[in-house]
Symmetry: C2
Subunit: 336 residues, 2 copies
């Protein structure tokens, strides 16, 4: 059997899916066959389902690999073959296994619920009763957080005045303030600010669609960009310059590269850098700097045992990410 955890309902929720129980499973004490999966009901339907001992569908599945492979073979063979091809053609770099993107993209876009669980005759459900929420909206986040006497859940650098039943989450150095509102959600990060009501916080997915349609980079990217070798983050930008903070993990190595439009100054603020600059290789320690002229071939490596952090000041007529000419990259990238 493929087992799901079915949560004992504590209220007639209309934002969860339900599972009707079938016969008790003789093989597993306390477990039942799945009679039927039921989509999000209305309030009346939810009450009726609960009266009939239905359970919330937690979305947790437990199964043996050989059984799931057989189920996929039987009910969703296109998913299985695409996954197999993506794995067969995968490449590895350091800690990453990179599935073959083209093969993976051929897999039908379908959830395991629809592809297997609603089709198989071997679906089971184990009733559980621990406190559970799928935390699928900011309203749900507010519900699971500790609240003060005004019903506010406040996190980070936040001050509120005359505000009740609200979630205010502030990341980074900035201060976030709310005056005279009830039931709002404010999430402020260095990338972006979201203001909504708890009642409407389910529309955030719709908002992301709008951001993507309008080509806002925030729809898909964070300010801190993770790479196989660590991460970088822009901290300032001006007319002819840009400043980044770069972290390279121990053993991490950026591509051998050059730029047509910018020179770079690196100041090491933590750890030790091994810098290749044309034909030379030098070690640059904490509080030391190195200059990389326009057009110079260079490479940054962390040869040490602790993370390397440096401040990069780019100066030039163009500082976009696409002015990187990669000559050699241990991670197999040709761009980006």
């Amino acid at each position: 059997y493929t087992m799901t955890l079915g949560v004992e309902p504590t209220r007639p929720a209309t934002d969860y899916g339900y599972i009707r129980r079938g016969a008790a499973l003789p093989e597993a004490e306390g477990a039942f066959a799945v009679a039927r999966f039921v989509e999000k009901p209305d309030a009346e339907g939810a009450a009726a389902l609960i009266a009939d001992s239905a359970l919330w569908n937690s979305g947790y599945f437990l199964f043996r690999a050989d059984l799931m492979l057989a189920e996929l073979e039987a009910h969703a063979p296109e998913v299985l073959s695409a996954a197999r091809a993506a794995l067969d053609n995968a490449t590895t770099d350091l800690d990453f296994v990179r599935l073959d993107a083209a093969a993976f993209a051929k897999a039908p876009k379908i959830s395991i619920d629809y592809a297997v669980m609603e089709r198989t005759t071997r679906a089971g459900v184990l009733p559980v009763s621990f406190p559970w929420s799928d935390v699928g909206t900011w309203d749900a986040v507010w519900q699971v957080l500790p609240q003060d006497e005004a019903g506010n859940a406040l996190r980070g650098r936040v001050e509120v005045l005359g505000t009740t039943n609200s979630l205010v989450h502030s990341e980074g150095e900035g201060l976030t303030t709310v005056v005279g509102l009830d039931g709002v959600v404010v999430v402020a990060t260095p990338d972006a600010v979201l203001v909504t009501s708890k009642a409407q916080s389910g529309r955030v997915k719709e908002l992301v669609g709008v951001l993507r349609a309008r080509a806002h980079p925030e729809a898909d990217a964070h300010r801190r960009m993770y790479r196989p070798w660590g991460w970088y983050q822009r901290v300032d930008i001006g007319e002819r310059f840009q400043v980044k903070r770069i972290m390279v993990t121990p053993g991490g190595r950026l591509s051998l590269q050059k730029h047509h439009h910018r020179a770079e100054h690196w100041v090491v603020v933590k750890g030790t850098a091994e810098v290749t600059l044309n034909d030379d290789v030098v070690l640059v320690h904490e509080n030391e700097a190195v200059y990389l002229p326009i057009g110079s071939m260079h490479r940054l490596t962390n040869p040490g045992k602790i993370p390397l952090e440096l401040i990069e000041v780019q100066v030039g007529s163009y500082t976009g990410e696409d002015d990187i000419i990669r000559v050699e990259d241990i991670y197999g990238r040709s761009s980006g």
Copy 2:
């Protein structure tokens, strides 16, 4: 006469002060003596005042200097004497005239309305009828801004969804989003985020009091700190480092200083810097860098004709503003 501009009311506003007209002034065509200043009335009082041809008190005053000096002598001599002492003991640096702080602090805290206008017999009012708002709340800001068909005034990098009659103002690089709200005000800057309703936006002053009581620096300071020589702004901070962007106006000169706990790397990204480092003076041009070891005596000057901008990377065990030992300062400061 000391004249005020009295705005012809366009609605029975309860958030403005009013002026009752007295007799026409024979000396000035169309002008009237002030019969009485009336504080913010309730809705009924406002309607009665308007029926009686009262005017909004715009807070604009026009007067001859010798007349105002005589009025102050007669009605508020402590204000006059404190102002005179502050001016007599003022100091100058570059474009600034710095009033004597101690003398100025002795002036009673009273507005010109109460100190003079309500006491003198020589107050006049000139009715005017141009569109006017004192823009004293974010609600008033929203009212004077152009609004889209949903009643939203959106400025900067902003996206809204299902949002109406709202003001959303976003400064800097971040994106600000609002979902499913009506009549809210969102102001997002790199320093801080304010979320309120138009109805409650008058409470921002109260909020500032709370911020001050809780010692939040945002109550009084901006991220960009202005100085006699230009400005600086922190762009990043870490465990043992800090990054600042510094602008020095042409001819501007920082104090001769040193630090006990940090070294500094300066990368010039615009203009030319004259850097004094111990016994040497060097010119540092765009895309050049200079290193200032811990304990070194240094000074930064902009000898050029255009603003100088540089990125300062501080590295050390402590990077607070109070690790500046000023040896010589053309602006007469001993600290800060």
